[in-house]
Each structure stands twice: as C-alpha cells, then as structure tokens.
Symmetry: C2
Subunit: 203 residues, 2 copies
C-alpha cells in the first residue's frame, strides 16, 4: 500500500530498465524478459489480456531522507521470489508462468528453475489456473511454451537434470516472433488451453 504517496515523473527512460536489469540476469536473459514485457504491454493495450511481470522483490534495509518526504533507499538486497515472474488474467482464467533462457545448444538445465517456482506452479494448477514455462534457446533464438504439468513431471520424476532441446521442440509449443507483439505467446495459450474454442487449431 502506498497510501498518500507523493509522486513525481521520472524522466530518464534508461533507468526504467535498471530495476530489472540488475536482477542477476545476463543480457540475454534480459532480452526474453524485454520481449515478454513488450508483448504483455501490447496485449494489455489491445485489451486481449491483463498480464504483468511482478516487481523484483527487494529487501529494504536503510532509507535516507535527503529532503522532506523524499525517500532514498541506500541499502537493499534482492530477495528470492516466492512465486513465478508473470501472472494475470486471460479470457477469464488465471495465467501464471515463468520465463527462462539458456545459451545451451542441447538442453535446458533444471538447475535454472527454483524449487519454489515448481511448488508455486503446482498450486496454480491445483487452484484451476493455467500454468506454463516459456523457455528460450538463445543460440537458435527459438522460444517455446511448455505446459507446467509436463515440465514439473519431468523435473520431479525424470531421471535427468535437464530437458533436451529436442524434447522441448517435440513437447513444447513454438512461439512465433514478431514486432508487435514480440512474442505471440497467447496464440500458443489459445491452442493449448482453449482448444474447445479453437477446434481447428493444432498444437
């Protein structure tokens, strides 16, 4: 709650990215995030969906007041998120997903998925939400949507510590690239989770 906050515009657009760009992501990791943020902005503007990236959780330790009512955080640390990065509403249904990028040419390592993200997505499915992962293989610049149930099952019951590029190709849904949106991932969501309304669509 930020009841009664005074607000002023922040002119420097460069800094708009800084709140996420330090979030232990590589620059490649950023690009998928940027693509998704731009796509979600487009989907919101076109009233197709209401999906946001959650703010990065930060533990504030020290705040200075250089001026009256001016709060300047001078010591803070990144916290581990307890949920996935993205959630929202699409066609009346809760949507929740995590996005990850790998430079590997051969496989996506499960080590880059946090256990709490798995636990969270299991709860999303339990409560009737739509949950998935968006995985990009940077080397091929290919992005796939993987159903949460499928990946969680591999993560928990599989014998390997990763999912191969070919498995992702075979079991995932390829996300088309574009300009607006950068990633047409809701088309994949339509064909995967709203089949009855799109009987002729194929995965």
């Amino acid at each position: 709650m930020c009841k009664g906050d005074e607000m002023i515009g922040y002119p420097n657009k460069k800094n708009l990215h800084s709140s996420v760009s330090f979030d232990n992501h590589t620059s490649r990791g950023m690009s998928l995030e940027d693509d998704l943020n731009d796509s979600n902005a487009y989907y919101r503007a076109s009233n197709r969906a209401l999906i946001h990236k959650k703010p990065t959780p930060i533990q504030v330790v020290k705040v200075d007041y250089p001026a009256r009512n001016a709060a300047k955080i001078t010591e803070a640390y990144y916290k581990t998120p307890s949920t996935t990065d993205y959630n929202g509403i699409y066609r009346g249904k809760p949507i929740d997903f995590e996005a990850k990028e790998t430079r590997s040419k051969t496989s996506f390592p499960f080590s880059s998925i946090h256990l709490h993200q798995i636990e969270h997505l299991k709860k999303v499915l339990f409560h009737g939400g739509i949950g998935f992962f968006i995985i990009r293989f940077s080397h091929y610049n290919e992005t796939y949507l993987l159903d949460a149930k499928f990946l969680i099952n591999l993560y928990e019951n599989g014998t390997k510590k990763s999912i191969s590029y070919n498995e992702v190709k075979n079991h995932g849904s390829f996300i088309r690239n574009g300009l607006t949106p950068k990633l047409y991932y809701l088309d994949n969501v339509d064909s995967l989770y709203f089949k009855e309304e799109y009987p002729n669509e194929k995965k």
Copy 2:
C-alpha cells in the same frame, strides 16, 4: 503498462513502512497489510486460495558488488505500482484487490486510491476477474470488502471525493476478524461472488 507511467514514490515514514515488507508493526497502515499477508499465508497453507501481495516496485539506480555474487543496492527509489497490491487465484477464478486503511471516523477519501489502481481494476473486471477493495476504518477496527464495480462507479461518477463510513457499512461486506486467518475475507468473496454455490449465504 509500466513503462508509460513510471513514477517515483516519496512516501513519508509511516507510508514507507507500509510499503515495504519489513519488521515494523507500529504504523496502522502496516496492520491491515500484516493481517492480509497472514491471512493469505493461512489460505495458501490450507490450500483454499493462492493469493500473494506483490512486491513493492522499486527503481534500482545503483548496485555495488562488495563480494562476488553479492549484489548490494546502494541507490533506489519507490515507484508507483501500476497494479493493485494483491492478486491470485480462488476457485479457478482470478482475484485482484487493493487494500486501504483510513483513520477517519466518517469517510474513506478517494484521494488515497490511485487512478492507475482504478484503471487496473476496470481491466480486471473487463477480463473476467473478481475485483474489489478491502477498506479498514482503523478507529473502529472495522474492515469491509467493497466490490470494485461499485466503488469505481462512485469514484468516477459520484459527486463527492470520498465514500462515507455509513455508505461503506451499507454497501460493503463486513469482514470477520479472527486469529487464523486474521481476516476471513474469502468468506465474503464466497457470498458476494460465488452465490450460486452458496445459495443460503447472506452478504
């Protein structure tokens, strides 16, 4: 969309504490947030719902790396959230709400609701989610759930800049207090938004 309306919040000390998840329980603004966080933790643990408070958006400007892998934020500012504070999933439906507290004995001032929160909740309703406000009158220690559509209509078309305590009593749904959860607000959600499944419940 976040990028368009980036702002920096300058909360005063009380609001500062209420905008970060942080050990201080002194301010009244904190107590409703604490009650809701505790209630949501209980509802998650009991698998009744999956609802979280979103992290407070913070604009990170400078980060030091005193040690390898140790990121210390040394300059950051509070940003205006572009959404409400709470969202999640309940009985397969998207839930989204904002919580506000007032010390006034007579009315809840609309000035403590940000326009972007109104805009966001309108989108929540448009996309088929359940949206509402939780408003506490600290003086009476009474907490009410107010349907988003009702309050937005007053906010946009009403002649007054506030909603009176009596209007909240009459049009809102009183939230029962307890120990676990501190606020039984999902019972109100049941009776308001899942009536067909609870035909005998009263508001």
